[in-house]
């Protein structure tokens, strides 16, 4: 397995102090290679969302180590000063609901991040169009989010997550609101994008339809992860 992608060693997260302390994550070990899509599954309250927030640099883990690409980003404390810049440059997010910005059209929803970081608008839009074409929504580039179907919205959200070519994408239940056909389409897109952009993708899911498609799955229970080989069923 490549040394890039993301590697997590002994990650823990404790909420509260003293008698009221809760260990949401006790010991998490994970490794996702570039171009790989892994599943993260577990029952409610198992620590999936906490792990996602830790990986997304949204909350502070209590201990452990995270290495993104060649950079140690957490080692019993953050090793990068600007977590917002880390999220912007290195991590893409795809949510259960697309959460597109309702007052921007499809192109600008995708191009927003590079535009906000100083890229000329035309260049950012050209990049967005390239991604939207790859995701087969190029025919809706001028539409507003409210005019899109659920599947189209999710594809636009994936494009937004990929626009900065991040080495890591965190997808939180991306297929939950979709029917079986669309869910498979989204998984196919995620796999294609992972391969095309050498991106490590972690998909948190409960969705029985897509679990058999993963080649590797991390089960999380009581804050501890267990690796398992998945069926790797074809997405065709």
């Amino acid at each position: 397995m490549s040394s890039k992608g993301i590697r997590i060693e002994g990650l823990s997260k404790r909420y509260g102090k003293g008698d009221t302390a809760v260990d949401a994550l006790k010991h998490v070990d994970m490794q996702v290679a570039p171009g790989e899509v892994v599943g993260l599954i577990g029952p409610s309250g198992s620590g999936k969302s906490t792990l996602l927030k830790c990986l997304g640099a949204v909350i502070d883990p209590s201990g452990g180590r995270m290495i993104l690409g060649d950079q140690v980003i957490f080692d019993n404390g953050w090793k990068v000063r600007d977590l917002r810049a880390l999220r912007r440059d290195k991590i893409g997010f795809v949510f259960q609901a697309p959460y597109l910005i309702p007052f921007l059209d499809v192109t600008d929803n995708v191009a927003l991040l590079p535009m906000l970081t100083g890229m000329p608008n035309d260049q950012a839009r050209a990049q967005a169009l390239e991604l939207l074409t790859a995701l087969d929504v190029q025919h809706r580039i001028s539409a507003m989010p409210s005019q899109l179907s659920g599947g189209e919205q999710q594809r636009v959200a994936i494009a937004r997550g990929l626009i900065n070519r991040p080495p890591l994408i965190l997808a939180d239940e991306p297929t939950a609101p979709l029917d079986s056909t669309r869910a498979m389409a989204v998984m196919r897109i995620l796999n294609d994008m992972a391969r095309q952009f050498e991106t490590a993708i972690i998909v948190v899911t409960h969705d029985e339809k897509i679990i058999p498609t993963f080649k590797r799955i991390y089960h999380i229970r009581d804050g501890v992860t267990h690796e398992e080989v998945g069926e790797g069923r074809s997405l065709e």
């Binding site: 969302s49 949204v58 999220r87």
Partner: protein, 400 residues
């Protein structure tokens, strides 16, 4: 760089425009209030300008004739005319009263002007229709704001007057239109009692043995005549010869004639500093309250609009948008709302001003100050929403 605020406004333009119109009406009221104050100040200045005087000679120890009652004998002007440096001196009376106008009545300041011609202090300096007063009695020149037309007949006390001329912007310091009548008529209107009162007075005088002496024939008639005529006016308006220094001339009158005399700056200070001071404070309070209400409305609207976008803000923060970008979006929306509000307010005030019963003077300086005040209020009002937006946890976008 993309303007998030601009896109949001374009997306929800109806909400912004209607909110801006509501805010604009409030700003319009604020601008009109400022215009009312400016109008009061201007009315005071116009009153002094139109009197054509350099000095106002009034009863000793009073702030007359506009701010306090003042009464001096109507022959004092002769003595003033004999003083060095004085070109013209004319008696004048002022009486604010209700004058019947058809089925209605109008509040007006009746000005008694001394015999003379246009250019005499106290006379209306210009007419827009008709002619100046040429007869000693029963003619009037009215400000057009009084509603009188040429040829109208109006009743002042016991006499009837015919409007022979119309003038414009001749108002009292309270904004009441002026009606000019001959001085003798005005003195009578101001001081002469009604028939019953005269009859009662004569009876009392006749019953007094001191005044009604058989050995002095004519005494009672002389006393009655002196009680029934008036030799008083409210002020003497003085015009100086060219090159004369008003302060020196005023000091000479104070010293040698023992009358209180005001120069133009002193009279302006009385009118603006004393007569309309309370009204100015009242308007100032209203302006302050309106500014606070505007700020509260803008703050509430921007807060609500931001609350509606909490999820989007959480997503923006999660994907790495800088705080200053989010703050700028909220502040720009607030400023845009203020801009729409100001434009609506300015247009509303401009079109509404002529319909106000008193003079409303909208000056560009007030508009500029108002514009920057609105922007400052919008910036301040957006701070609450910005504070809330910056406290949004990006983890809210992930849920769980």
């Amino acid at each position: 760089m993309i303007s998030l605020a601009g896109r949001d406004i374009l997306h929800a333009w109806g909400k912004f425009v209607f909110t801006g119109i509501g805010l604009g009406l409030l700003i319009g009221v604020t601008l009109v209030m400022a215009g009312v104050y400016r109008g009061m100040v201007d009315d005071g200045k116009v009153l002094l300008d139109n009197s054509g005087a350099d000095l106002w000679v009034v009863q000793k120890g009073t702030l007359g004739p506009y701010a306090e009652p003042s009464s001096i004998n109507d022959d004092r002007y002769r003595g003033l005319l004999g003083m060095p440096g004085i070109a013209q001196a004319a008696n004048v009376t002022y009486l604010t009263m209700q004058i019947d106008r058809g089925d209605d009545d109008v509040r007006a300041m009746v000005v008694g002007i001394a015999p003379g011609a246009a250019g005499t202090p106290g006379w209306p300096p210009y007419l827009i229709a008709g002619r100046q007063i040429t007869r000693s009695h029963y003619e009037a020149v009215a400000d057009i704001a009084s509603g009188f037309q040429l040829g109208d007949r109006l009743d002042i006390r016991r006499n009837q007057y015919r409007v022979v001329g119309l003038t414009r912007r001749m108002v009292s310091s309270s904004g009441d239109p002026m009606v000019f009548i001959p001085l003798k008529d005005a003195q009578q209107a101001q001081f002469l009692k009604d028939n019953d009162a005269l009859w009662q007075n004569r009876r009392r005088t006749a019953a007094n043995p001191v005044f009604n002496r058989a050995e002095v024939p004519g005494l009672l008639a002389a006393i009655n005549a002196s009680q029934e005529t008036s030799q008083s006016v409210n002020a003497v308006l003085v015009r100086l010869q060219p090159g004369q220094v008003a302060d020196q001339a005023a000091e000479a009158i104070r010293r040698w004639k023992r009358l209180t005399t005001y120069t133009r700056p002193q009279m302006e200070a009385i009118l603006i500093g004393k007569l309309i001071a309370t009204s100015a404070k009242q308007i100032g309070m209203f302006l302050m309250i309106l500014a606070l209400v505007s700020a509260a409305i803008v703050a509430f609207i921007i807060y609500t609009l931001t609350m509606d976008k909490i999820r989007e803000i959480a997503v923006l923060k999660l994907i790495g948008t800088k705080n200053r970008t989010i703050a700028a979006m909220i502040m720009q929306q607030s400023l845009a709302l203020g801009l729409i509000g100001f434009m609506v307010g300015k247009i509303t005030a401009t079109f509404a001003a002529p319909f106000f019963p008193k003079y409303v003077l909208l000056i560009p300086q007030d508009s500029v100050v108002g514009f920057f005040a609105v922007l400052a209020i919008c910036v301040l009002a957006s701070l609450i929403a910005i504070r809330m937006a910056l406290k949004v946890d990006p983890a809210e976008a992930i849920g769980g």
